[in-house]
């Protein structure tokens, strides 16, 4: 169903430029990993706080609020470096079940982060039963680590 879109991505001038260059693709991959590292760091510090293992001297809201701007900038860098990698190999990704799995997991992680996690992190301390933020932190951590791992495994099994 989505094949025409993947074919269009593959035929873009930027995809061809990436395929023709020796350095462009690897350098974009490297910057993508750096952006992912910063993004995951900002997620993990918030999740550790939700789990009660991070900087507990600060409220959950203040840690996740401060991490929020990092998430925004790092997320933007992840997307900008991810798009050319996707378009360059669009036809390969079209056949990759791991890529599809990663995208579903990514969508779930994003949705969970901007809805449940944000709501729980922003709730006043003591308003929720103590297991709620812990469970939310654990699910968030599992989702984002899952996205990172599945992204890496595409290289081998995609």
């Amino acid at each position: 169903m989505l094949l025409p879109f993947f074919q269009w991505c593959d035929g873009l001038a930027i995809s061809q430029a990436y395929r023709d260059s020796t350095y462009l693709f690897p350098l974009t991959q490297a910057l993508h990993l750096l952006a992912v590292t910063v993004f995951v760091g900002a997620i993990v510090i918030g999740d550790l706080r939700l789990l009660g293992w991070g900087p507990v001297g600060q409220s959950r809201a203040s840690i996740t609020r401060s991490a929020g701007s990092i998430l925004l900038w790092a997320g933007l860098a992840v997307v900008l470096t991810g798009i050319p990698q996707f378009t360059t190999n669009a036809l390969t990704y079209h056949r990759s079940w791991l890529f599809v799995f990663k995208m579903y997991l990514l969508a779930a992680a994003l949705l969970f982060t901007v809805t449940v996690r944000q709501r729980v992190a922003g709730a006043a301390e003591g308003r929720l039963p103590s297991w709620v933020p812990k469970a939310v932190g654990a699910v968030s951590l599992a989702l984002w680590i899952g996205v990172t791992i599945s992204g890496r495994l595409i290289t081998y099994y995609g």
Binding site: P26, G57, L153
Partner: protein
Amino acid sequence: MPSIVPAFAWLEGLAWTTALRESPFGYPLIETSHVACIVVFAGLVIMMDLRLVGLAFTHAPLAQIQRRLFPWQMATFVPSTATGILLFCVDPLRYYRNVLFLAKLVFLALAGLNALAFHLKTYRRVEGWDEDPQVTAIARLAGVASLLLWSLTIVSSRLIPNNWFK
């Protein structure tokens, strides 16, 4: 001067390193674990550095952020080092000749030395980090150096498979 190549050739020829190299799951799973651990480890180090340079979490005392993140940094640093050593053992001759791998090791060593120097120089005055302007200035400098060195470590790690400088 004796060459280290025979030792690496011996390591590469061992039954377990050969088995891991030729297994469809061995190398990919070790490498993926290595990347996952290093992403979490370096991510938390970068969060700490952003606090050091005053770009994030500024409402939280430096000492508190440092103390609470350190165990998690170590909990991911140890497995990332162990899997990194394992990856090298599986394919030592390939890595030994790779300039980008050597560059990664240099950046890693410099990042480690920077962290060590910072801890030894300032840790005794950890409680004064937020009040003493001199300590704050040193902390900022160490934070900038750490951000730069860990970024270079991550970037050079990802470039290793390309081996541009043969």
